[in-house]
């Protein structure tokens, strides 16, 4: 199975001009491990909110491309967000679900995606312009190409190993995360 750290490192390396929002737990650690950057906004809470923050940012900045990195647990909590994004149809938004089939922060309980729920199919039925499920290196290479060339909204479910990886903790101060992100976009910090 794909290693989540390798996946996120490759995504970040390929999407150098993207703005990133990561969901709480492992996706935020993965993004931080790949390389800290003021244009990364790491969520530490607000479960279910990453994709919708991405939609708000995508609508505010049609001149930029936005990548949301989230987990299966978070996106299941924000299932309705897929419907909202599917209707809003932001061409500059990609939602990438790092799917290990488990709730990794809380004792590795199986999530719905281990038990038959297909988030990529949900996104497709919600009207996403491009959806895929990535299971191997070839699929990942194709996803990297699609992320750079396809018009969104895009939803990719990347199946990754549930094997534990060391935590890599980003800044915890939310106001600092917000202010440095805005500064990186030449906006006043506030």
């Amino acid at each position: 199975m794909l290693n989540r750290r390798d996946v996120v490192k490759k995504i970040q390396s390929a999407l150098t001009a993207h703005l990133f929002i990561s969901g709480l737990g492992s996706p935020s650690y993965d993004l931080h491990a790949a390389g800290d950057n003021p244009k990364n906004f790491y969520l530490w809470g607000a479960m279910g909110g990453a994709a919708m923050m991405g939609l708000g940012l995508a609508m505010a900045r049609p001149d930029q491309k936005i990548a949301v990195l989230t987990g299966d647990g978070e996106q299941l909590m924000g299932l309705g967000a897929l419907a909202t994004i599917g209707v809003a149809k932001p061409q500059n938004l990609a939602v990438i679900v790092l799917d290990n089939g488990h709730f990794g922060e809380t004792g590795m309980q199986q999530s719905h995606t281990s038990q038959g729920v297909d988030l990529s199919a949900v996104a497709a039925s919600c009207g996403f312009a491009y959806t895929c499920t990535v299971k191997d290196a070839a699929g990942l290479a194709d996803l990297l190409h699609q992320l750079q060339t396809s018009s969104g909204p895009l939803c990719a479910v990347v199946q990754v190993s549930a094997a534990p990886v060391p935590r890599s903790l980003p800044i915890l101060d939310g106001a600092e995360l917000k202010n440095r992100f805005r500064r990186a976009l030449s906006l006043d910090p506030l």
């Binding site: 607000a46 279910g48 909110g49 708000g56 940012l57």
Partner: protein
């Protein structure tokens, strides 16, 4: 008179450069949503649940744009944990909440959340303003938008059923 305040509210949002209006609908917001949809200044976004709008507002501000969440009081309960995002990051935030279960309510199922709305919002760190007439609505929304985007404040304007009128059954 109804059309009048709704039109003034719409133009007030434009004056403050609000350009996104996520919503879970309520009859009390219908005219504002319709005005936005008929104009080219404010984009509306239909939500499947209110908490989506909390995250959307914050994402929009990360990108430098102002977004205001429209919902009814029954939706406030759906938002509480997501509002931790506002508090943790000092995001500017304004929501306009049409009240149910507060004054002249027929549907008793609306009452528990309507009665708890103000306390819930304050418990998660928002300032609440209750408005009962068009003049105070416009002044309050003006102040809420100004203080949100000038000094990182977060508030909810609770629009009373005294302002909106009773839902006819």
């Amino acid at each position: 008179m109804r059309d009048d305040w709704e039109d003034q509210l719409y133009h007030l949002l434009i004056k403050h450069e609000v350009c996104l209006l996520p919503f879970v609908p309520d009859a009390g917001h219908a005219a504002l949503i319709s005005k936005a949809d008929n104009g080219d200044k404010i984009a509306t976004i239909v939500l499947s649940t209110e908490e989506e709008g909390v995250a959307l507002n914050c994402g929009a501000w990360l990108g430098g744009k102002k977004s205001v969440l429209l919902m009814q009081s029954s939706g406030v309960g759906n938002c509480i944990n997501m509002m931790s995002l506002i508090a943790n990051c000092s995001f500017p935030f304004v929501t306009l909440v049409t009240m149910r279960g507060e004054f002249g309510e027929f549907n008793s199922w609306q009452v528990p959340m309507g009665q708890a709305t103000k306390d819930c919002l304050e418990a998660i760190g928002l300032t609440t303003y209750c408005v009962e007439d068009p003049d105070s609505l416009l002044k309050t929304v003006d102040a809420a938008l100004f203080s949100a985007f000038a000094s990182q404040q977060r508030s909810a304007v609770l629009m009373s059923q005294k302002l909106l009128g009773r839902k006819e059954w």
